[in-house]
């Protein structure tokens, strides 16, 4: 997936990316610079993700969205100026996205994903999707997977959020720091002469597609035992994806009361369906899922952005395969589903 990474960085690049090169190394930066990224869905989460990826210095970013910028987007979507409400979200975001980093080629696409052929998606090295229905997500994921391209998706509803990653068959290197005592000279008495040695190990991670993760079988004992940890974030995601599929929209702040009732009813159905303990999915988690809260979009967009950097630079272990942010406990965790 990584093209030409032999070309040296220009002085301007070295200067601008200095601090991150000090963290992830020159090789990673070159790989970033060779990567083409597609971002689908310019909601607040899409904007946060785009910002992080553009700042990192990839080769190109395409912003894809067929929706119009709405008032409610302005709570978290900082790439589109407030006076562009009613215009296409991707196009409205273009100018500010480009200003974030003139060294990255940023473009827009205003067609809906359903209008675009499979080859469209596989022209990118990695696709990040947000705001889509389950069926659309699964299609794009499978298209990417067949061409060995990486796929991530995620959403933020209110303060709650999740991310899923399918990096297919992913090879990466991980640096492990080891300490060893060293001596200088024949009778060195310097007590603190220690050296840290960094060794790089190659690793491999195998991923599963989204449909596997979303249809995890909760009757299986290994998943049942996960219930004891007591975090219902996975089910909150299921409920919200179902809501979107069923109503063709996200929970609406203007219909806060009625939508909350719907969510709680869907919750009860899911609890019955999967034989979950009653009360396992608290009301509290389903009351803060309206609009996109800026802080939560920053958090989940930060995680997705970092995963994209890890995936394309093939450095450091990426999350396999779901990340959840539970705002009630302020905990963020990774779990593997569907394997």
């Amino acid at each position: 997936m990584v093209e030409n990474n032999e070309m040296e960085l220009s002085e301007a690049e070295a200067e601008q990316y200095d601090r991150q090169i000090r963290l992830w190394g020159l090789e990673s930066q070159k790989r970033l610079r060779a990567s083409k990224v597609l971002i689908i869905g310019l909601s607040g989460l899409g904007a946060e993700t785009a910002k992080n990826i553009i700042l990192s210095g990839v080769k190109s970013v395409c912003l894809l969205d067929n929706e119009k910028l709405k008032e409610i987007d302005l709570y978290s979507q900082f790439l589109a100026p407030p006076d562009k409400v009613g215009e296409n979200r991707a196009e409205a975001s273009l100018q500010r996205a480009r200003a974030l980093n003139p060294m990255v080629d940023v473009t827009s696409e205003t067609k809906s994903v359903d209008e675009l052929p499979d080859e469209y998606f596989t022209a990118f090295d990695i696709v990040c999707a947000t705001g889509l229905k389950q069926e659309q997500l699964e299609r794009i994921n499978n298209v990417c997977r067949d061409s060995n391209k990486k796929f991530l998706c995620g959403d933020v509803w209110g303060m709650y959020g999740y991310m899923f990653a399918d990096l297919v068959d992913h090879e990466y290197s991980e640096e492990i720091v080891q300490h060893k005592a060293v001596k200088r000279g024949p009778d060195d008495t310097e007590k603190n002469a220690r050296e840290t040695v960094t060794i790089t190990v190659k690793r491999r991670a195998i991923y599963v597609p989204l449909q596997n993760a979303l249809s995890a079988d909760w009757t299986k004992p290994e998943l049942r035992s996960r219930l004891r940890r007591g975090d219902p974030s996975y089910f909150v995601m299921k409920i919200l994806l179902r809501f979107r599929d069923e109503y063709n929209r996200n929970p609406d702040p203007a219909k806060r009361r009625t939508d909350t009732e719907i969510l709680l009813r869907m919750r009860d159905e899911l609890v019955k369906e999967l034989s979950l303990p009653v009360g396992f999915i608290s009301d509290a988690l389903l009351t803060d899922v309206f609009g996109t809260v800026s802080g939560a979009a920053a958090v989940v967009g930060g995680v997705i952005g970092q995963e994209v950097v890890k995936a394309v630079s093939q450095r450091e272990p990426p999350h396999n395969n779901m990340f959840f942010f539970n705002p009630v406990k302020c905990v963020g965790f990774v779990e593997l589903y569907g394997q």
Binding site: Y17, L100, N101, R184, N192, A254, G295, A298
Partner: protein
């Protein structure tokens, strides 16, 4: 304003946000992100303070700034950019230091929440005290590389920023720096000192010449070195390095021959030093290694190539010329300030550190690596800053909603822990340390020193550097006698008197206060004959330190361990002041004292 779209938050929070006023301290990586989140969420009244200007190396994460803003005020540009997200909020930007009389306790009292997005301990300590005095909740943030943290500080409810003694900043004995370096960092520290000796602010603690008072050098064999040219202070008696260099007109060859030839020969004459060490090899300007090397193909950034000794000497000569020319252009008595982003200053330190490293058989480093070490650069990335700032603003919302008790510290881990957690919240708030010398109801601390030697001037330094006061006043408890006044001129005539001479004795207590910080602490003096400078003695659990630091349970001994504000010391370049959290088997967070704040230090030299 927040009700731009009603129903995103419940009514209580919507109302609380609409009536809130927030102070953001710092407009760097985290500050930009916090400001964005606040503005988008619709926080109607925000003030932001930052004294910095924008540098090109900020642009990879401080996304409110673009190339055309380089050199401008961070606070002002951050305000302008953020207003474009939501022009209906009110932002006041201060291009200023938060440590100023303009931002007193009454200033802090007007806010509902203060959010710290700082990059240095001095300012963090100061804001901590201001928020304690004003009784305003403070959300403290920091990142270092992939890791980060968000911590609530509220008087009486949680521990404060200074409740746990922090790991002292790494220091190196002066004799290691001057006589027996064994690691690259020793040579880098020496090179930075040399810069100050030649071009910067001269500091007697930063002498770069051989130290004849090195206890290791003493004894018969070393006696030959302790010749008539040395004085009791251990410094070779002669003109200051600066004066000597000026006389030679900063001739690079002469400077080189003295620093890397004569001084090394002198060190070799201190034979005891080399009984168990490999002796250094003096260099000759006319016979430098690497002169005839053909340059090898180098992949990577130009700065990542390690120069040969010959190349170092060339760079040394060129940077000396450039720096001297810069110095000459300035008014008499002015000096340069070392800055890692200043080409000649960085070249000079790289060259000198590597030449010295070669002499002492220490591996040479690239300019890129030396810049990290000399400039205390902690790598900073957009994503970690975004996550930490997002968590911080969510915490601020919880506080406004009345859930302050639920706002325990949250740690962003560089990798997930064994329970799969990437953001790890503590189970509960961490209560205040009752023995904290800052937030305890009656703060108290011991000061161990030799009263016969410590002068009033040293005492002032102890209060400023050790207790992080800005303008301390001190009176003798029970007597009301003013020992130290922050009013200029009032007690200055006593500056050179020892504490004993002004009538202070063992066990005597001083009431020391800082008007600006609204902070008073009772300081017990403890006579210690062996203490060369001073040392704070706290009742708090001493942190577990490495063997080197163990002798110094608190803030070190020479009174210079805390970075001083002001231009003479480089500041850290990140938003960092991280605590590294270790977890036990169950994933429960191990509480202090195992918990440590790691902070890349401004290196400081201890006296031997």
């Amino acid at each position: 304003m927040v009700a731009r779209v009603a129903g995103v938050f419940d009514e209580k929070l919507t109302e609380a946000i609409a009536n809130s006023k927030i102070l953001v301290v710092g407009a760097g990586g985290i500050g930009c992100e916090i400001l964005k989140n606040l503005v988008l969420t619709g926080f109607p009244q925000i003030e932001i303070i930052d004294l910095d200007t924008i540098d090109v190396s900020n642009l990879n994460r401080q996304f409110l700034f673009h190339k055309e803003h380089v050199g401008k005020s961070k606070a002002q540009v951050a305000k302008d950019s953020a207003l474009s997200f939501n022009p209906n909020v009110n932002i006041i930007a201060h291009h200023d230091s938060v440590i100023s009389n303009d931002y007193g306790v009454s200033y802090f009292k007007q806010f509902n929440i203060v959010m710290n997005a700082l990059d240095n301990r001095v300012a963090r300590n100061h804001v901590n005290r201001m928020c304690l005095a004003a009784n305003i909740p403070l959300i403290e943030t920091g990142t270092a590389g992939y890791a980060g943290q968000v911590e609530l500080i509220k008087k009486g409810l949680t521990q404060c920023y200074e409740c746990q003694p922090k790991a002292p900043q790494k220091t190196f004995p002066g004799c290691t720096i001057r006589n027996t370096p064994s690691e690259p960092i020793h040579c880098i520290v020496w090179a930075k000192h040399l810069f100050n000796q030649l071009f910067g602010e001269e500091d007697p603690d930063q002498d770069v010449s051989p130290d004849t008072a090195d206890p290791e050098a003493a004894g018969e064999a070393g006696a030959s070195a302790l010749s008539s040219e040395s004085n009791t202070a251990g410094n070779v008696e002669r003109k200051s390095t600066r004066a000597w260099a000026a006389e030679t007109n900063y001739n690079p060859e002469k400077l080189f021959s003295k620093l890397f030839g004569d001084d090394i020969h002198y060190l070799l004459s201190m034979e005891n030093l080399w009984k168990k060490r490999r002796p250094p090899t003096p260099l000759n300007w006319n016979a430098l290694p690497g002169k005839d090397d053909t340059p090898t193909q180098h992949s990577g950034l130009p700065d990542q190539r390690v120069w040969s000794v010959y190349e170092c000497a060339q760079v040394f000569a060129a940077s000396c010329d450039a720096l001297q020319a810069d110095l000459k252009r300035r008014p008499e008595g002015d000096h340069l300030v070392w800055d890692k982003d200043e080409k000649s200053a960085m070249d000079f330190v790289t060259a000198c550190a590597n030449i010295r490293a070669h002499i002492f058989n220490i591996p040479l480093k690239s300019r890129f690596e030396i810049k990290s070490m000399a400039g205390n650069i902690i790598p900073a990335i957009a994503t970690a800053n975004a996550i930490v700032a997002g968590l911080a603003v969510l915490r601020a919302q919880s506080i406004l909603r009345g859930d302050i008790e639920a706002c325990s510290s949250v740690y962003l881990r560089p990798k997930v822990n064994h329970r799969g957690q990437l953001f790890v919240p503590e189970k509960t708030l961490t209560p205040p340390n009752p023995k904290c010398y800052v937030c305890a109801p009656k703060p108290e601390v011991g000061l161990a020193c030799n009263l016969k030697q410590l002068t009033l001037k040293d005492l002032t330094a102890a209060f400023k550097d050790g207790l992080n006061m800005q303008a301390p006043d001190a009176t003798v408890e029970g007597k009301g006698l003013v020992v130290l006044s922050s009013e200029p001129g009032e007690t200055d005539h006593n500056n050179d008197k020892t504490l004993e001479e002004i009538g202070l004795n063992d066990g005597c207590a001083l009431l020391v206060d800082d008007f600006l910080q609204n902070y008073e602490v009772r300081v017990r003096l403890q006579q210690e004959d062996d203490e060369k400078s001073w040392r704070l003695v706290t009742d708090a659990d001493a942190p577990k330190l490495g063997p080197k630091e163990e002798e110094k349970p608190t803030n070190g001994s020479n009174g210079a361990n805390e970075p001083k504000p002001g231009p003479s010391r480089s500041r850290q370049d990140s938003d960092s002041d991280m605590e590294i959290i270790e977890e036990d088997e169950d994933g429960t967070i191990v509480k202090p004292p195992k918990r440590r704040r790691t902070e890349m230090s401004d290196e400081v030299v201890e006296l031997c």
